[in-house]
């Protein structure tokens, strides 16, 4: 347990925030594809961190611990959103034929990207969204957030080999999804 850190919880919290908030926010954005949701989840992550600082065990790195909370919060958020979508389907907020949300609040065009890259990025993010949760998490952390295989393994609490395998399968699946998308729309960039 962090005894010294308990003495000045607020200062420690501020340090953790300054060091990790950008990455947490970017992970949340990559996972949720929505700025408002990403900000909301980032807030929840750090509130959680603030309350749990005293329980933090130094066996893990702070960054791993914070990122693990972020990933778990994102997954919880996705689950909650799916539940809401099911409910909204009943209340006719979705197109009854396609099942798609009529008023989709997604704004997954990455604000930091230039115009020509926007479309490719949007398509990639949509494709990532179709991956299995574990593949999606591994892909976002290693390919988008550029975390090392070791870090991703620690965050996801799996072996490095498992991360490698998840990434490999994610890429394969993405190729299939994108190939189908290409065939369907005959996109020529």
């Amino acid at each position: 347990m962090l005894e010294i850190k308990l003495q000045n919880k607020e200062a420690i919290f501020e340090n953790i925030f300054l060091l990790h908030h950008k990455r947490v926010y970017n992970i949340a954005f990559a996972m949720l594809k929505n700025i408002a949701d990403a900000e909301d989840v980032t807030q929840e992550v750090f509130i959680n961190v603030f309350h749990a600082i005293s329980q933090f065990k130094e066996e893990a790195q702070i960054s791993t611990w914070v990122h693990r909370i972020a990933v778990n919060k994102c997954l919880d958020h996705i689950k909650a959103k799916k539940r809401k979508k099911r409910l909204a389907f009943i209340t006719s907020l979705f197109d009854p034929e396609t099942g798609k949300q009529i008023h989709d609040a997604h704004n997954h065009l990455h604000p930091g990207k230039i115009l020509e890259q926007k479309e490719a990025h949007r398509i990639l993010m949509d494709a990532i969204d179709l991956l299995k949760t574990s593949q999606k998490t591994a892909f976002v952390l290693s390919q988008i957030e550029k975390l090392s295989q070791k870090e991703v393994a620690a965050i996801m609490e799996i072996s490095e080999k498992a991360v490698e395998s998840l990434n490999h399968r994610a890429k394969e699946k993405l190729r299939i999804i994108l190939g189908k998308f290409y065939q369907k729309s005959k996109v020529n960039l």
Partner: protein, 95 residues
């Protein structure tokens, strides 16, 4: 040719993951978080106070009930003792 185009396009889309700039969060994010923490702590302290008052009320109510029962029992015992004495006296007088 079409296959090549498709592969090229898929690679291009996959490579777009490497060109993503890091987003900068809202500059007031820290203040927002602190505000939520303060709000949560206030709510939790209010809940604790409500709980404390509830417990105090229940304890007080319990004590009152116990005292009432005890005094009622005492009255009954005293009444019974008085009746017994009167009965005894009557027995003594009847002799």
């Amino acid at each position: 040719m079409n296959m090549k185009n498709e592969e090229q396009w898929v690679n291009q889309v996959l490579a777009s993951a490497d060109q993503i700039d890091q987003l900068t969060p809202n500059p007031f994010l820290y203040q927002k978080i602190k505000h939520r923490i303060v709000q949560q702590e206030r709510a939790s302290s209010n809940n604790k106070n409500t709980l404390k008052w509830s417990v105090a009320f229940i304890v007080l109510l319990g004590l009152n009930t116990a005292v009432l029962f005890a005094s009622a029992k005492k009255d009954r015992t005293r009444h019974q003792l008085k009746t017994n004495i009167e009965l005894n006296n009557q027995t003594v007088y009847s002799y």
